[in-house]
């Protein structure tokens, strides 16, 4: 398959998110209804969801969702996993056959935990140990694609319209406190299963509407730190940049947002001295992670969600609140479809992250 930049498909996208700050768990029916309102923003070449809080009975184990092209790639991957992890449970992910989704790969789910002695010998923490294994699977096992590997969360994606993808994965049977969704209209790159959104690493997931002009510069930079972009879509690189900045560099998510959607120098110049030096530091220190071009993204993570626009706000993004529940979407109608009378509706400004977390948590 051709890489990002080698193929160009003319085109939009839709994103939607629901976050229950009080931690109440809701089925995916609401997020499906929301993203379906924006059917015309996608073209059937990709749809997907990320849910958090969906595996409470396995919350201490990494939930691994993998697509396989063949039984042999599954066997090779399971041998790979078996040497490094304790596999607590494995099964096919239950799906509902529908005429609207075809050419499905083999879709498997594993609940795993690093083998204690190997983890200790590796001198890594368990997140790093696990993420390296996932990157290795995607990078070196032909026909195997790890699509999510966080705890108590999962990514469900396919080629098709998002509402059909929800039916295919029987998402009405899952309950989570946080859901994001994506309807894809691929620009530049092919529509294929692993290339649908959300993109994820560990508990971090990204859904994206837009097109990253800086993709290749960002890719070259992040690949220097052990990541590997091989899912043929620009959004993948945002996921790795955010993982690198927050998990490896220890930036807060807000700081990371000020790196990828850094304010213009003229905007920084108008700030007070402390803020000026802080923002200038972030821009200079991490200049190769500035993401240019239009984007609106929703970032899911353990216990929270972030919504962010590019600094020019070249893609739409609407936010709303009702009680302790927060909604984000490409279009207001997609929020009104599930919450007719929000307490508050607003459009976040370009480059200004909106970060919500579970009550009592901060990140």
């Amino acid at each position: 398959m051709k890489r990002e930049g080698e193929i160009r498909i003319s085109s939009g996208c839709a994103i939607s998110g629901i976050f229950c700050r009080d931690g109440s768990r809701i089925t995916a029916e609401a997020i499906k209804k929301s993203i379906a309102v924006m059917h015309n923003r996608s073209n059937g070449l990709g749809g997907g969801f990320a849910g958090y809080g969906i595996y409470p009975q396995y919350r201490d184990f990494y939930a691994l969702h993998i697509f396989y092209d063949s039984q042999s790639s599954r066997e090779e991957t399971e041998r790979f996993l078996d040497r490094r992890f304790d596999i607590i449970n494995l099964s096919k992910i239950p799906v509902r056959q529908t005429s609207k989704i075809s050419d499905a790969p083999l879709i498997w789910r594993y609940f795993i935990t690093p083998l204690p002695h190997l983890l200790q010998d590796s001198q890594l923490d368990e997140n790093e140990y696990t993420s390296r294994a996932m990157i290795a699977i995607n990078n070196s096992i032909e026909g195997a694609y790890a699509v999510s590997c966080g705890k108590d969360m999962g990514v469900f994606k396919a080629v098709g319209y998002p509402e059909d993808v929800a039916d295919f994965y029987r998402l009405e049977e899952y309950e989570g406190y946080s859901w994001t969704a994506h309807g894809r209209y691929p620009t530049n790159t092919p529509g294929w299963w692993a290339g649908s959104h959300p993109f994820s690493l560990l508990d971090l997931t990204v859904v994206h509407n837009g097109e990253i002009s800086s993709y290749d510069a960002n890719r070259r930079s992040v690949e220097m730190y052990g990541y590997s972009c091989n899912l043929l879509t620009d959004t993948e690189v945002i996921t790795y940049i955010l993982d690198y900045l927050t998990r490896k560099q220890g930036l807060t998510l807000r700081e990371a947002s000020e790196v990828i959607a850094a304010p213009f120098w003229s905007t920084i110049a108008a700030k007070d001295e402390d803020e000026r030096s802080r923002l200038a530091y972030l821009r200079k220190m991490f200049s190769s992670f500035l993401v240019t071009g239009p984007f609106s993204i929703l970032v899911g993570f353990d216990g929270g969600m972030m919504a962010l626009n590019d600094r020019l706000k070249l893609r739409s993004l609407v936010a709303a609140e009702k009680g302790r529940t927060v909604y984000f979407s490409s279009e207001e109608a997609a929020i009104r479809a599930i919450e007719e009378n929000p307490d508050k509706v607003w459009a976040p400004r370009g480059g200004e992250a909106v970060i919500v977390t579970l009550d009592g948590e901060k990140r």
């Binding site: 309102v37 924006m38 015309n40 706000k313 739409s316 279009e331 009104r336 509706v345 459009a347 400004r349």
Partner: protein
């Protein structure tokens, strides 16, 4: 008045009743695009949340929206009136050529981008609340007014107001200079005569459409932003 439920009657059906100089109501809107597109006459009341491209290419008549409008409302509008009681999304009145667009609430980014005026045609855009950044970007003619009602003393236009504009006028009901205003623009305060002759007729109409106080809309001081004719853009990208 004929009432349609967009969930039951298709947009194509409803469209047959446009341009008959009638008053129509469309209820239950939820993201349906291009409502009132290229309408030439009549009155359309829109209930719910209409989708992108509302009143695009509007060529006459009046469209009233009770709630909020989404992106690209009044795109390339040619004539008529669009009145939104709530807020509007991004790229409001993009490339508008003539007519009036009134929004009582806020507008998103790039309101009035590349609005025009020619011969007897003059685009008028009035925003009752605040606008997002890049207000009147590449403005080529017409009048944009931002009132900032309820936001007195705050920034009401975000960043890069009037960036790249080369004709037309942006009036702001504020004493605070917009953030990082381009050096190719000039800012001046609006005198009583200009207020009476230019702003009062427009704001009087705006106030009557929404039944709000005309005096409140006109209260306080206004500043005007225009292109500095001495600094043209002709050599911005390439020496000719």
């Amino acid at each position: 008045m004929r009432v349609f439920d967009i969930r039951k009657d298709s947009l194509e059906t409803i469209r047959k009743y446009e341009n008959r100089n009638e008053e129509i109501e469309i209820k239950g809107c939820l993201g349906e695009r291009y409502i009132g597109c290229a309408m030439r006459n009549g009155i359309l009341h829109v209930k719910g949340t209409p989708g992108n491209g509302l009143a695009s290419y509007l060529d006459g008549g009046t469209i009233y929206v009770d709630g909020n409008a989404q992106d690209a409302t009044a795109d390339t509008m040619n004539a008529g009136l669009v009145a939104v009681r709530g807020s509007a999304g991004d790229a409001l009145a993009y490339g508008m050529r003539s007519g009036r667009v009134y929004v009582l609430g806020d507008a998103g980014y790039r309101a009035g981008v590349h609005m025009k005026a020619y011969e007897e045609n003059r685009s008028i855009l009035v925003i009752g609340g605040r606008s997002g950044s890049f207000l009147g970007e590449y403005l080529a003619g017409g009048i944009i007014i931002v009132l900032g009602l309820g936001h007195e003393g705050e920034n009401i236009t975000g960043y890069f107001c009037g960036n790249g504009m080369y004709a037309g006028t942006i009036y702001l009901r504020t004493e605070t200079t917009p953030l990082n205003l381009s050096d190719k623009l000039i800012k001046r305060s609006v005198g009583d005569e200009e207020k009476a002759n230019v702003l009062r007729p427009i704001l009087s109409d705006f106030a009557s459409v929404f039944s709000v106080s005309e005096e409140e809309c006109l209260s306080g001081s206004f500043m005007a932003i225009e292109a500095d004719k001495a600094k043209s853009y002709s050599q911005l990208y390439a020496a000719v």
